[in-house]
Symmetry: C2
Subunit: 184 residues, 2 copies
C-alpha cells in the first residue's frame, strides 16, 4: 500500500463557524476506498509553547483556568500565532506577556500536531534560557499565576498528574532529552 492510497479528497467544504481563535469546517470527503464521509475540521492558526529555564534546574510555569476543561491547569507559557507572526517572535512575545521574563536565548525543539483527528493546530515548542526580568503584560482575558518549579518536582508532577497538559509534558520531557542539541 503506497502513501497515495491513504489520501482523502475534499468533495464539498462547508464553513460552519468563523470565530476568535478557531473556525469550524465540516467537509464532505471521499475516502481511499471510494466511500464518502464527513470530516470535522477545527481551523487553528498555530501556536507556540516555551520551556523557560530560570536556572539550569528551575523552570517557569503558569497556572491558569482553562474554561473548556473546567480546571485550573499548570502549563508552560504558550499562545496562539498572530496573523503573519513568526513562531519564534510569538514565543518571545508570549513568554514576556505571561511571565514577565525576556529570553536571552531561545531554541526550537520541534513542532507537533495536538489533535490531528479534528484540529489543524500545529504547536512549535521552544526552550528558553538567559531570562531577564521585564514587565509582565498579560492580555485582557488572561489571568495567570507564574510559579517557579524545580525540574525534579515538575517530573514528579507529571507522574502524579498535577501536570496534565500534553504540550507541557512534551516540552519538559524534550527539554530534558538530547533533542535539538540540548544545551541545559
Amino acid at each position: 500500500m503506497s502513501s497515495v492510497d491513504l489520501f482523502e479528497k475534499t468533495l464539498r467544504p462547508r464553513r460552519v463557524y468563523d470565530g476568535k481563535v478557531i473556525n469550524l469546517r465540516v467537509d464532505t470527503v471521499k475516502l481511499p476506498n471510494g466511500r464518502v464521509t464527513i470530516r470535522e475540521v477545527v481551523e487553528h492558526p498555530g501556536a507556540v509553547a516555551v520551556v523557560p529555564f530560570l536556572k539550569p534546574d528551575v523552570i517557569l510555569m503558569i497556572r491558569q483556568y482553562r474554561y473548556p476543561t473546567g480546571e485550573i491547569l499548570l502549563e508552560i507559557p504558550a499562545g496562539t500565532l498572530k496573523k503573519g507572526e513568526k513562531p519564534k517572535d510569538c514565543a518571545r512575545r508570549e513568554l514576556i506577556e505571561e511571565t514577565g521574563y525576556k529570553p536571552g536565548e531561545m531554541r526550537k525543539m520541534l513542532g507537533c500536531y495536538l489533535a490531528p483527528g479534528y484540529s489543524s493546530e500545529l504547536i512549535h515548542l521552544y526552550k528558553a534560557k538567559k531570562l531577564v526580568q521585564v514587565k509582565k503584560k498579560p492580555e485582557f482575558d488572561e489571568k495567570i499565576q507564574v510559579i517557579q518549579v524545580d525540574l525534579k518536582e515538575a517530573l514528579k508532577m507529571i507522574e502524579t498528574s498535577e501536570i496534565k497538559d500534553a504540550k507541557t509534558i512534551c516540552g519538559i520531557l524534550l527539554a530534558l532529552g538530547n533533542f535539538s542539541q540540548s544545551y541545559v
Copy 2:
C-alpha cells in the same frame, strides 16, 4: 492570589454545532476581573492512545492520513471514547481494530489535555505489552498502515520531526521513563 481568582463564570452558553466527533459551543463568560468575553469550546468525548510493545525495544505505530492537517502522520494507535466506554476498554478495542494485536497486559501512564485553550478533550495514555496477533478490524473510515518501529528509531524520528504528533511524542517519552511503575 488564590485559585478562586482564576475562575471564569459562564453567563450564556451557545450551541453552534453538534457533530460526529465534536460539538462546538461559544459561551459568553465573565472573567475574574469582571470583564466579559467569549470562549470557544470544542466538546470532545475524550480519547485514548496506546504505546504497544511488540518486543521490549520494538513498538507498533500507524501511518494515517489526517485530513485536518493535510498530512500523513506517524502515530501510536489511538481513538475516541464511545458513549459509556471505559478508557481501558477503549484502548484495548482501538489497539485491536487498528493493529490487529490484542494486549496481554495494559497499564495507564497518565491522562492529559491536548488543547485546553479551546477543547475539552482529555486523552488517556496506555502502555501495552504481551501482544497477541488477532484479526485487524479498522472502522469503515479508517485506512491505516501498521509498522514496527525500533524504540531508538522512534526517538530519532521525534528529533527529526518524522514523528510530529503530541500524544505520540508524550506516549513514547513516558513509556521510556520511570513513570507509572514502568515495566519495560
